[in-house]
């Protein structure tokens, strides 16, 4: 019980956010890809991963190796094979539908295909009778149909009602996006109030609509008009928009979306629960699985140094950190993720001891600091001062035996430099880079870089770090 309390108390709000976020991402992946080939392949790869882990734990070398190889290629396989599906998900939907929407996997009737097909038939004056079934079973009232089971398309509907087609006189029954039957004989309406212009096709449409909840579309080959029969009503529709609206009303696709079925709700709930449990399991295995120790040597970074102080030296440039955490997390640490930063803001001239605690050490989430060696860093700081120093030329080489370098003048003679007081106090002269006398034959001028041998020294603001050297060469006295 105590362990359980300790465990729950160790969970941070970041962990909860982490699990929730990734659980939701996993759930959305499921929602967006369910029913597609991509989802099935993803499930296959997940199964393969499980198989690989199982075979590895059982010591099945070849099986494990084989599964690992396929998994290694999984990312490539998913991207290449399912590029179209991925594109459909990312481009075809708006952000809201990707993040929040639930695409229906149930019945989908291609309203646009039907509308286009029907008005094309009407334009060509080709008679047609199309039934969109509802919940009622049509087998009791519609007879003699020939099974078709074809995906509804404009070309197919056009060809079914083409005058030379043997089944063009009957009705077709569409359920979902599939043409289920063709050449279906429908019962005729016996109503007397129907216009006399209505022929057998329109009476058949009205007859079916009266007896079932199906919707029937009749295309007149004489007038080129489109009529819709639903329930007791039959009327002519004037345009594509009106027909589309009528079809949507019948199918309930956009105007009044059907409520989610209980089965679908259960499926989504289970998927959500599994997603969150899976991510929680992964998080648990990452953060609490197999507690391990690891040591890392990390260089120390010094921050917020007072500009009036210079860092002279430290007792150590790097510290050894002993870290603990799960083996998985420790293995995945990159050195740049671990930082040791010492704030020099409270430092003073002289030697300052700085204690390295967890405040100074930044670690990736899930990793904790066990110890630091050395625990204290001694940092020597010194006040920055400005000093004017004479510049001397550092000659080198061998001058010709009959010549002598008689005079040298350096301009400027002195240069102002800034640096730590302790360093500058011990420096009395700045030297130039080496200038060779090997080739000197007559008087002249050269420019030379002034060397600031200590790393903390720099020319004062406005001061140059180059000098001009004028020299006089004379004949040497015997």
């Amino acid at each position: 019980m105590e362990k359980l309390i300790l465990f729950f108390s160790s969970i941070r709000w970041q962990d909860l956010l982490d699990i929730t976020l990734n659980g939701y991402i996993l759930f959305r992946l499921y929602v967006l890809s369910r029913g597609t080939n991509a989802f099935r392949i993803l499930m296959g790869i997940a199964l393969l991963w499980f198989l690989q882990r199982l075979s590895a734990s059982l010591g099945l070398v070849v099986t494990s190796w084989f599964a690992q190889g396929i998994i290694a290629l999984a990312a490539l396989i998913i991207i290449v094979v399912f590029r179209n599906e991925i594109r459909t998900v990312l481009q075809g939907r708006n952000l809201r539908s990707i993040l929040w929407g639930f695409p229906r996997t149930g019945t989908r009737t291609p309203v646009e295909v039907l509308v286009d097909s029907v008005f094309e038939l009407a334009r060509r004056r080709i008679g047609a009778l199309i039934v969109l079934s509802g919940k009622d079973d049509l087998s009791e009232v519609a007879h003699s149909g020939i099974p078709w089971q074809g995906l509804a398309s404009k070309e197919m509907i056009m060809s079914i009602f083409w005058p030379d087609n043997p089944v063009h006189d009957g009705a077709i029954v569409i359920k979902g996006d599939t043409v289920k039957e063709v050449g279906v004989i429908l019962p005729l309406s016996h109503r007397q109030d129907l216009p006399s212009s209505y022929g057998t096709r329109h009476r058949a449409a009205a007859g079916l609509a009266e007896r079932t909840d199906a919707l029937a579309l009749a295309v007149s080959e004489e007038r080129g008009s489109v009529s819709v029969a639903k329930g007791e009503k039959i009327r002519v529709v004037e345009g594509k928009e009106e027909l589309a609206w009528v079809l949507q009303q019948h199918l309930g696709t956009s105007v009044a979306p059907k409520k989610r079925t209980l089965k679908e709700k259960v499926e989504l709930s289970v998927a959500a629960a599994v997603s969150f449990l899976f991510i929680a399991g992964v998080w648990l295995s990452f953060t609490h699985g197999q507690d391990t120790l690891m040591t890392l040597d990390i260089p120390v970074e010094f921050t917020r140094r007072d500009q009036a102080l210079e860092l002279i030296g430290t007792s150590a440039n790097a510290v050894r950190l002993e870290l603990s955490g799960s083996l998985t997390l420790l293995r995945s640490i990159r050195p740049e993720q671990v930082k040791v930063q010492v704030d020099l803001g409270r430092g003073e001239p002289g030697t300052n001891p700085f204690l390295i605690t967890s405040r100074e050490v930044s670690l990736p989430p899930g990793i904790s600091l066990k110890s630091v060696n050395p625990p204290v860093l001694e940092v020597t700081l010194d006040a920055v001062i400005r000093k004017e120093l004479p510049v001397q030329v550092d000659w080198t080489g061998k001058i010709r035996r009959d010549l002598i370098l008689a005079q040298v003048k350096v301009s400027p003679e002195k240069i102002q430099v800034t640096g730590p007081k302790g360093v500058l106090e011990n420096i009395t002269t700045l030297y130039t880079e080496k200038i060779s006398v090997d080739t000197l034959e007559r008087s002249g001028t050269v420019t030379a870089q002034v060397l600031l041998n200590h790393a903390s020294l720099r020319p004062a603001a406005g001061a140059r770090d180059r000098v001009t050297v004028e020299f006089v060469v004379e004949e040497r006295a015997p």
Partner: protein, 134 residues
């Protein structure tokens, strides 16, 4: 009577000494010449320069003071880079005086040198700079 004459003479000498402090050593010697050369022969510097080959064997620092108010001491401080290599004590005699110091050169002496000429209170009178090369 003779004692009075001796006492009077002593008093005059004391007053004269008090009036002329230069004679008593409070005035400083004035440095009129300071050069570095290969060697000093017959009281003069040969081959003054700023660069000397280690093959010449030695280098001298020649300094001349005028006036020299009283017997005093100066120093020639020889530095290689910033490290004191030799501190040579030289005595100046009034009324004027020229003196020099020298060092023998070795292979390890190559590099930039400077000579600080200081008085007995360690005040710098002048700094001479030169280099020893191949």
């Amino acid at each position: 009577m003779i004692y009075r004459a001796i006492l009077f003479s002593a008093l005059l000498l004391f007053l004269a000494a008090e009036r002329n402090p230069a004679q008593g050593g409070t005035q400083k010697p004035v440095l009129v010449q300071a050069v570095v050369c290969e060697d000093v022969r017959d009281g003069s510097c040969r081959n003054q320069g700023a660069v000397f080959s280690v093959t010449v064997g030695g280098v001298a620092c020649y300094t001349a003071f005028d006036p020299v108010p009283g017997r005093t001491v100066i120093y020639h401080n020889w530095y290689r880079k910033d490290e004191l290599n030799a501190k040579i004590r030289l005595v100046l005699q009034p009324p004027r005086w020229a003196t020099f110091s020298s060092i023998q050169l070795r292979e390890i002496d190559k590099g930039p040198w400077r000579i600080e000429i200081t008085d007995q209170e360690d005040r710098a009178l002048r700094t001479l700079r030169f280099s020893i090369t191949d």
